[in-house]
Symmetry: C3
Subunit: 205 residues, 3 copies
Amino acid sequence: MPTEKKFFPLFEKASSNLLETAVLLTKMVNTADAVTRRELLREIERLEHVGDSVTHEIFTELGTTFITPFDREDIHALTSVLDDVVDFIYGSAKRIELYKIQVPESNICKLAELIEKSGEELHKAVLGLRDLKNVESIREACIRINSIENHADDIFENAVARLFENEKDAIEIIKIKEVLSVLETATDKCEDAANVLETIIVKNV
Amino acid sequence: MPTEKKFFPLFEKASSNLLETAVLLTKMVNTADAVTRRELLREIERLEHVGDSVTHEIFTELGTTFITPFDREDIHALTSVLDDVVDFIYGSAKRIELYKIQVPESNICKLAELIEKSGEELHKAVLGLRDLKNVESIREACIRINSIENHADDIFENAVARLFENEKDAIEIIKIKEVLSVLETATDKCEDAANVLETIIVKNV
Amino acid sequence: MPTEKKFFPLFEKASSNLLETAVLLTKMVNTADAVTRRELLREIERLEHVGDSVTHEIFTELGTTFITPFDREDIHALTSVLDDVVDFIYGSAKRIELYKIQVPESNICKLAELIEKSGEELHKAVLGLRDLKNVESIREACIRINSIENHADDIFENAVARLFENEKDAIEIIKIKEVLSVLETATDKCEDAANVLETIIVKNV
């Protein structure tokens, strides 16, 4: 295996770890039982650390490998932003526990599902990096990630508008709005990852 | 026309669309009549879609053109950030309607005006890209955009401080603070665009 | 002195100014006396302007120097993000005064201390740029900055959770949460600076 090929399994480890974290989040926000929910949170935390290790591994590889499959700065950017997505997933899960949010809550569930869908598309796109002959399928995944982000934006904004209409306790509003916002930011970061993937394609086709 | 020249009309379409959106926002936040305001919002939404199309057009052009007038990554960054500005303008307009904010509200109007001024400077700077002989005027536009952003920052912070002093309804504070913050972020994104323009100048002079 | 060497004293001026601002912030948030606190705020504001001048000086140098010690875009990114850190330090100090926050407040003090520690590590790392032979010490500083950011994240999230439990005035929650959030963002920006430093190392070893 040529040394530059070492990066692909690492990228794929990062994106499959991201997807796994997203799947656990969907499970967690649909779990009414507090004990199970805390176990899921601990598992998400564990995967967040796995993500950090992969990130570190890629950066180290980058420092010691002369020939890279893509521009070094794009590898750096892709790795950072995949890490960001996992951070925001973990950040929302943590806040749900810390703020004692009542779950399942319908808009939180919807946003978690969208993050999971984005995670699936991202992982598909990253798998496509090994062989850039099928660029069109990466590009389509990126377009779907963009459209998921638009959808998440709409859900977020409408959820907040409903909150203002129906919830009279300002402190509750602050808490739920914050969780919704962190979830929405996770979809933004997926979009940022898609943009890096598009940059890589633009440069390598 | 050499193929690389195709980019300039597209950049200019993006920045003139941004300016037009900003002009509509200023109109909207000064309109007390709910029906007219909703029409203006729908028009802003339409321009947001126009912006998305131009963004997509530039990215497609980037994927099929061998020689580009500037570094591909800078074209990508400039396009993305001009798109961001329009997204935040639309985001603030949408929230004013969704949260049923009473307009005109003096600080909202002031920030909308600053976004419009930033939009004018951005469009001027983008028009200067065709012929990089007049780099000084681009640089001056960028400096003005930076100073507008500082001004917007001050207005935002003082507006929030006044809100805390005079508004006793926490939910009202959350709503208005959020709108002010999205408006302020639009001026931040204008500054980011100016920074990309400065990077382009630095590399091409 | 070869012209490219001109950049190092400027980088060091930016990072030592950042550190000085952070030291003043720690002092300010530990000062109960309103008059002294306002003097410290004015001094932070002055240093923020000093930071802006250094930023401008580096950008001008970048525009007129042919050979640069690192890639032009990395110099641009490093300069911008060091400027961001100072902006967020000033932003938090300003909000403490504007929102009339009662200080010293234990979590605010803890976050200010972490910013100061990050500032020390950043300044150390920037001093290491002159002679890239000791790359390991720069890398270690970056790792410490990352771990400080994780710590700040935990403090921020727990502080907000405690606020929700103990503070019944929603408006107070909004104010203190905002200050904590700006402080936490300052540590995020330190991490962004560390990431740029890692990029520079990756490219120059």
